[in-house]
């Protein structure tokens, strides 16, 4: 039975936004926490920690997000961990985000001139104080624009959750497309919804970047 594409279908696609936003938010916060740790490890003075963080980043940046999700989704049950799709997708996206945010923030930390760290060391500040009072405040300012830019990538990345059956914006469009047989409208509408989510963030990121370039 083919249904007409009406307001109901449009609304059912729209309702997928909720999961997309929640998923993006959790992955962003979780990825932010682990990403911060990765960035600190990557810029630490201990070589093994640096190497571990470098491998971690290389792995997640050098493999497709879809494979990462497959590994969590099909891999963890092998170890007896049966997760519902929500948890599996969240874990996958959080790990993914942590590597990318870690790399962005490493860039920010390393963009702070070395002389600053040396001066702080000469003043007798320990690692913790050097980081908290001297390096990180400047690094954070430098990293804000690319971090917002990555949020756009992450929102787009959540669409892959649809492939493993998680219902979010893309999956709800897929469902509407198959019940009404109007794929052009369904996917067009989904694209518009994604655009409405992502475009303001892209503009914000570009604006922040410009402002930063002017000042420094």
């Amino acid at each position: 039975m083919i249904r007409q594409f009406g307001l109901n279908e449009a609304l059912s696609i729209l309702s997928g936004i909720e999961s997309t936003v929640i998923l993006s938010f959790i992955a962003f916060v979780g990825g932010g926490i682990f990403g911060g740790i990765i960035a600190l490890l990557r810029t630490s003075e201990a070589a093994p920690l640096q190497r571990f963080a470098a491998i971690y980043i290389d792995f997640f940046q050098g493999t497709p997000l879809l494979m990462q999700l497959f590994l969590v989704f099909y891999g963890l049950p092998v170890f007896g961990l049966h997760l519902n799709p929500w948890v599996a997708v969240t874990i996958g996206l959080t790990l993914h985000a942590s590597a990318f945010l870690g790399e962005i923030w490493r860039g920010g930390i390393q963009a702070v001139p070395r002389g600053q760290t040396e001066a702080a060391r000469a003043l007798g500040l320990r690692y913790r104080d050097r980081m908290i009072s001297v390096v990180l405040p400047q690094a954070i300012r430098l990293s804000i624009a690319p971090t917002v830019g990555f949020l756009v990538q992450l929102i787009k990345g959540t669409s892959l959750a649809a492939i493993i059956g998680f219902v979010e914006l893309s999956r709800s469009a897929q469902i509407a497309a198959s019940t009404t047989y109007k794929p052009l409208i369904a996917y067009g509408l989904a694209a518009i919804f994604y655009f409405v989510l992502c475009f303001p963030l892209s503009r914000l990121s570009a604006g922040l970047e410009r402002r930063l370039v002017v000042r420094t």
Binding site: D58, F59, G62, T63, P64, L65, L66, M67, Q68, F70, L71, Y74, G75, V78, F79, G80, V152, I155, K156, G157, T158, S159, L160, A162, I163, S170, A173, Q174, A177, Y181, K182, P183, L184, Y187, G188, A190, A191, Y194, F195, C198, F199, S202
Partner: protein
């Protein structure tokens, strides 16, 4: 609950994995080449004197950059047939990937051209060079130097993005892995191997591009 890992089960399928890798590289190469052509045209269009041309180019770039690739693929593969344009999975995949790459390449190319100081163009013109000569002798090489690393990053990204076209059953590494999965039920081993192959491919290309970059663009600026 114990699960015995057995990668040996996958050994007889090495040819399929290799074929998947080859198809993935082919897919990425096709789409980056076409995408580059689209990107150059779009970058030029963004600098056009006509407002409408600039607007079209900007809308294309922003629309593609702010929507997920999965939705773009679905739109092309499932949506276009209702307009009478039915594409085979591979054609749809190449079209979607090229259109996607084009938007990102346009930004990269635009950035490279914009990074050349205006004074350089003016100096070239003052020397009596024609616009094309200015481009060839003054703009091209420094612009390429800026563009190349970003563009090689785009290639690696395209390589990873190809995995998504498995969702329209276009054949490449991920699709091969999925079909082996339904044959052997060795999901974890299969996806580990596929992931490792993607990692090997992206590291290989990243290294090649780094070497090319060092060989061609490492001259001193001053």
């Amino acid at each position: 609950m114990t699960y015995r890992f057995d990668f040996g089960v996958l050994l007889p399928f090495w040819e399929q994995f290799l074929r998947g890798c080859g198809l993935t590289i082919l897919l990425a190469t096709c789409s980056i080449v076409i995408g580059l052509a689209i990107g150059i045209v779009t970058a030029l269009a963004k600098g056009s004197l006509f407002r409408s041309v600039r607007l079209i180019a900007t809308s294309y770039v922003e629309l593609i950059r702010n929507t997920p690739f999965l939705v773009q693929v679905f739109f092309i593969y499932f949506g276009l047939p209702t307009l009478g344009l039915a594409l085979k999975p591979w054609s749809a995949a190449i079209l979607a990937l090229s259109v996607n790459c084009g938007a990102f390449a346009a930004e990269v190319i635009r950035g490279g051209i914009d990074a050349i100081p205006k004074g350089q163009y003016e100096a070239g013109a003052a020397l009596g060079l024609k616009p094309l000569q200015v481009f060839r002798y003054i703009v091209l090489k420094p612009a390429l130097r800026i563009i190349f690393p970003a563009l090689s990053g785009q290639f690696v990204l395209a390589l990873l993005t190809t995995s998504i076209v498995s969702s329209i059953s276009a054949e490449e590494l991920t699709a091969v892995a999925q079909s082996l999965d339904t044959m052997t039920f060795r999901s974890f081993e299969i996806y580990i191997v596929a992931t490792a192959l993607y990692l090997a491919m992206s590291l290989m290309f990243a290294t090649i591009f780094k070497l090319v970059n060092r060989a061609c663009f490492s001259y001193l600026v001053k």
